[in-house]
Symmetry: D2
Subunit: 222 residues, 4 copies
Amino acid sequence: MIIVNYKTYPEGLSRNAAELSRIAEHVHEETGVSIGVCPQYVDLRETAKAVKIPVLSQHVDCYEAGAHTGSVNVEAVKDAGAIGSLLNHSEKRIRLSDIGKTVDGLKKTGLISVVCADTAAVSAAAAALNPDMVAIEPPELIGSGIAVSKAKPDVLTDTIALINKVNPSVTILCGAGITKGEDVSSAMRLGIKGILVASGIVKAKDRRTALMDLAEAARKAT
Amino acid sequence: MIIVNYKTYPEGLSRNAAELSRIAEHVHEETGVSIGVCPQYVDLRETAKAVKIPVLSQHVDCYEAGAHTGSVNVEAVKDAGAIGSLLNHSEKRIRLSDIGKTVDGLKKTGLISVVCADTAAVSAAAAALNPDMVAIEPPELIGSGIAVSKAKPDVLTDTIALINKVNPSVTILCGAGITKGEDVSSAMRLGIKGILVASGIVKAKDRRTALMDLAEAARKAT
Amino acid sequence: MIIVNYKTYPEGLSRNAAELSRIAEHVHEETGVSIGVCPQYVDLRETAKAVKIPVLSQHVDCYEAGAHTGSVNVEAVKDAGAIGSLLNHSEKRIRLSDIGKTVDGLKKTGLISVVCADTAAVSAAAAALNPDMVAIEPPELIGSGIAVSKAKPDVLTDTIALINKVNPSVTILCGAGITKGEDVSSAMRLGIKGILVASGIVKAKDRRTALMDLAEAARKAT
Amino acid sequence: MIIVNYKTYPEGLSRNAAELSRIAEHVHEETGVSIGVCPQYVDLRETAKAVKIPVLSQHVDCYEAGAHTGSVNVEAVKDAGAIGSLLNHSEKRIRLSDIGKTVDGLKKTGLISVVCADTAAVSAAAAALNPDMVAIEPPELIGSGIAVSKAKPDVLTDTIALINKVNPSVTILCGAGITKGEDVSSAMRLGIKGILVASGIVKAKDRRTALMDLAEAARKAT
């Protein structure tokens, strides 16, 4: 599984979101690899209508529907067609208790949760909250072009070991610096089940080729 | 001017947002009173396409487009069709410097800013940041059904006096507990130029009648 | 072990902190039960000088010493004589990654960490970060006078089961609504090793008697 | 007036705080220039006992005394001997409404407030909240050694003009990059009444000489 996070890059907004989402759908159809996309809130609904691949929110707040001006809740992203959400991305860190509450809220609503974490111990803590997936991403490598699977394989194997001890039902993803198929292959050889990628695809010159490269590597590795 | 904040009420999400926005458009056409609506992020784009009245965001973050997962920026809400944004609502208070930065960012992008404030002094501080509008809303009255213009007229007159000293170009709104036409009338008699309303309309049994009541009062008062 | 959190109650500030800390020291000497106290930052140094029982900070920030105006760091509380710190109290919730970083920082400096949590799952997550202690405190019972060990024994047994699975080396405390010896006894019968208490002692009419009651119950239970 | 902010530098903690505070006291006695010092919370009480110059907190939270674990309140810093507090430092930005509330809380308790701000407009907003002082500090120059008064004189004159329009009773300080007497002189020639300094003094090799240099410049300029 590959999750493409559009962040708030202009290259992933509006028409660019639509185009990139169709590319992701096409690469999924070509390779059979699961590809999820995370557009901005304002593009969630149109993206979910336009493509058949999974659409996730980049974040949801811990508040339920009600008097919470300016917040994003589980009900709203579900209504917009998202099948789940990232949580606790390094650019949107949240409080431990709020992660617990939001993972529960997503689960109750039938949505999946992908909790991001910066270290092996924090990944294990996230896994203890019983989300569907945990994504380990050393923040210093995010957007660096230096793949976590190459630069910090130990962090990945430590994360896998700790999570498997705490909660083996959690699917483990990794991210940070992933741009090439071989970054995916090396991660999956270590036992990682999927990839979280952003600038490596969203800002690539040829996004179709770049995503196809990652998906082909994922396909071969499974 | 009346601004209807849908908050994250289920009664203001998706189809309910569409219905309420058409009501607001219709009341505007009937009365000539400016009515703006603030749907949730996921409904911004469809609402802005569906109606001709102004659509505003409930909040925008202080970050520019880029590597800011889960945030909402000026470019995105503009692209979605919003003509401006609320800022610093009592349910989404933000840092002083971030209000300054975001008011500037909205202005540069050609969007209007409506900064909420809880006291007369904070309203004057907000006005010093040169937004288009400041909305004074004593938090203890929000959602109470007890109109600020009836319960705390002094707060309104103090706010008007202080803002006019600091920055007379700012349009002054008020909110909190507004549900009836006479709440609007009494506010406008004190010198208030517009109304911020949420549950009083969004959760009203007959939303068209309730909004028409406010708009008629606003029309008569001008 | 009993930890008395002075919060920012006037009854626990300055001279009151000194008096209460001497009471705690005396009760420890009488009963042999470990009693730690958590005064406010401004009282840490004097308290640590005045009594021989353990003094803990109520919180430390995740920043190291340096250009971090207004923050509280591990070096400062250690220098002031604290032997550790509470973290993530329900009145001072912090981000998951910051808990991870701060637990590590305390450990490296030779200080102990007591991470508070609101649910069994969040307690397990906290335990995965490898602190010395985790304190389960259902927020709705804090300050209520309704003891967690009476009102929610299931939460305590669930917490113990989950933490023992994730990290059996963690000492498990509980808090919220504890005011009487029998609240302590019932908690310890369930397998809890210590108690976190605040208003039940700090605001008690006769603080010595109230704390002696808790300590006697703890002594008998071990 | 010169305010020395010790931040959380090791050079300003504990014995270093005591030494630096005595230096500040001595420079005040030599030059007659008002010098205030801002030690860390854990050193507030001892510093206030040890020296006769004004001691300020680096921050206070907006909460009153009570059930607010880990927070710092007006009552506590007053009890510890502080005569006031910095607020909203660039390393501890706070919400607009919380600044309003805390400025009021300090005033009611007889303490002075020094609100930091990053731009001329934000300085004017801060002034509208009626604090005793506003300190303009462009964040990009903090700790840079490039004095705001040399690098951005326009920001200072704009700030003075805007604040004088909004609230002429506010005393205007500046900070960021101040290390030498001539930085003070140039600021005061522009109309600035005092200086906020941190690393330029706290981390200076010869702190007495460095502070004497600033104080002499301030004395000559008045």
